[in-house]
Structures are given as C-alpha cells and as structure tokens.
C-alpha cells in the first residue's frame, strides 16, 4: 500500500515536509510542487530514509520557474500529467499544504 505525498510548501518556511517525513512508508512517492520545489535545496531531504525506497519527484515547470535545479540522481522530473498518473498508481494521497 503506497502513498503519494504532495508537498506544496518550502521547508524553509513550514514544518510540512518534516511532518510528511514522519509518516513515510515503504515505496512511498513524494511530489514537490509549487513552493515545495524549494525543498530540493533543503538539507532535510538528505534525511529521508533510503531503506524505505522513497521516490522523489518534482514538477519540472514549477522548479524551473523558481530556478531550482533538479538533480536527476536524487529526484525525477515530472509533468502535471505525470502527477495525475501518480494519484492513480498510488493507493492514497496526502497533500501537505
């Protein structure tokens, strides 16, 4: 049972990402959208439990608009259409906003 976590806020501004990380399960997916893309610059993402095989994704347009570089070794670039697909591929969705 996988969960898609849509993170819309920057960890520089709120605790949303930290709270999200507290409830991550195996094979969950995180999608950074809107100001959530700033989290790619935050050290918190280095603390995500690698053993849980968490997949990080970010909306390419949202990151590019903010001049945030998506390191493909860490995070997968996605489109809005991909995000819609992710909502179907996962068992549930939590929007952290």
């Amino acid at each position: 049972m996988k969960t898609l976590h849509i993170v819309r806020q920057s960890a520089f501004n709120t605790n949303d990402l930290a709270q999200c990380m507290q409830v991550l399960g195996n094979d969950d997916v995180i999608a950074f959208i809107d100001d959530g893309c700033y989290n790619l610059q935050h050290s918190l993402i280095n603390n995500i439990d690698r053993d849980k095989n968490i997949k990080l994704t970010a909306i390419e347009q949202h990151a590019s608009a903010r001049a945030i570089n998506i390191n493909k070794d860490v995070c997968t670039k996605i489109t809005m259409n991909d995000l819609v697909s992710l909502t179907f591929e996962n068992d549930r969705v939590i929007t952290w906003q």
Binding site: M1, T3, N15, D16, Q19, Q22, V23, L24, G25, R92, V93, I94, T95, W96, Q97
Partner: protein, 122 residues
C-alpha cells in the same frame, strides 16, 4: 466496514485560533460522522495545541469550536490520535480537554494514518 465505504483520516496540523483550518476540519469530521462514515482524527505539529486544557477563544473574540470536541462520541468518532513527538517538542503533557485520546509514537502514528483510504490535512 463494508466494501463500499471508505475510511477517512483528518490530520489537524494548525494551532486553533490563527486560521479557520481547525474549525474546517471539525466541520468535515462531524459531517462524515453524521452520515455514519468512518472517520479518525490525527493531531500533529501545531495541531496538538487544539487539545490542551483551559483554552478560551472568547478572550480574543474567537468562537470557541474546541468545546464541540466533546461531541465526538455522539457522532461516533472514536479514534482520536496525537503525535507524541509533537507534544514533546512543545513541552506538553498528555493531558487533554477531551477523553479517550490515543498518544502514539511516530511509527504507530504513521501506521494508523496510512491504514485509512482517504486522508485530508488541515
């Protein structure tokens, strides 16, 4: 629970008086309860402030929706969970203005939360 009904989890993550988030979450919970839908409440981060004793919104001219928490049992809302680490971070004891609250460590909190089909966060 039959196959056609889905369980709802509501995460409360905001302090009670700075926004309408807590009241909105309560309204959703009571509506689901009214229609005999399975609903559980989770309090995490700043949301744990909604549960502490001796709050009085009337002092700052805010309608005190927290008193309505006492009606959870009437609405058949039996599962209320609190994040233990959020309490500790704020130096809060496990003493709340309603009864039958379950304080869970991080692992159990995550397990309970993700046992629900639908999850809303306010």
């Amino acid at each position: 629970m039959n196959n056609t009904s889905k369980s709802l989890a509501i995460i409360n993550a905001k302090a009670p008086y700075s926004s309408t988030a807590g009241k909105d979450a309560l309204d959703i919970a009571l509506i689901f309860g009214s229609f005999e839908q399975t609903v559980s409440l989770f309090f995490q981060g700043e949301g744990v402030w909604q549960l502490i004793r001796k709050q009085d919104g009337s002092i700052i001219s805010v309608k005190d929706y927290l008193k309505t928490f006492a009606a959870f049992e009437f609405y058949d809302i039996k599962n209320v969970y609190v994040c233990q680490s959020s309490l500790k971070e704020r130096n809060l004891s496990e003493s709340f203005h309603i009864d039958n609250i379950k304080v869970l460590n991080q692992q159990d909190f995550a397990t309970e939360l993700t046992s629900h089909h639908l999850i809303l966060r306010f």
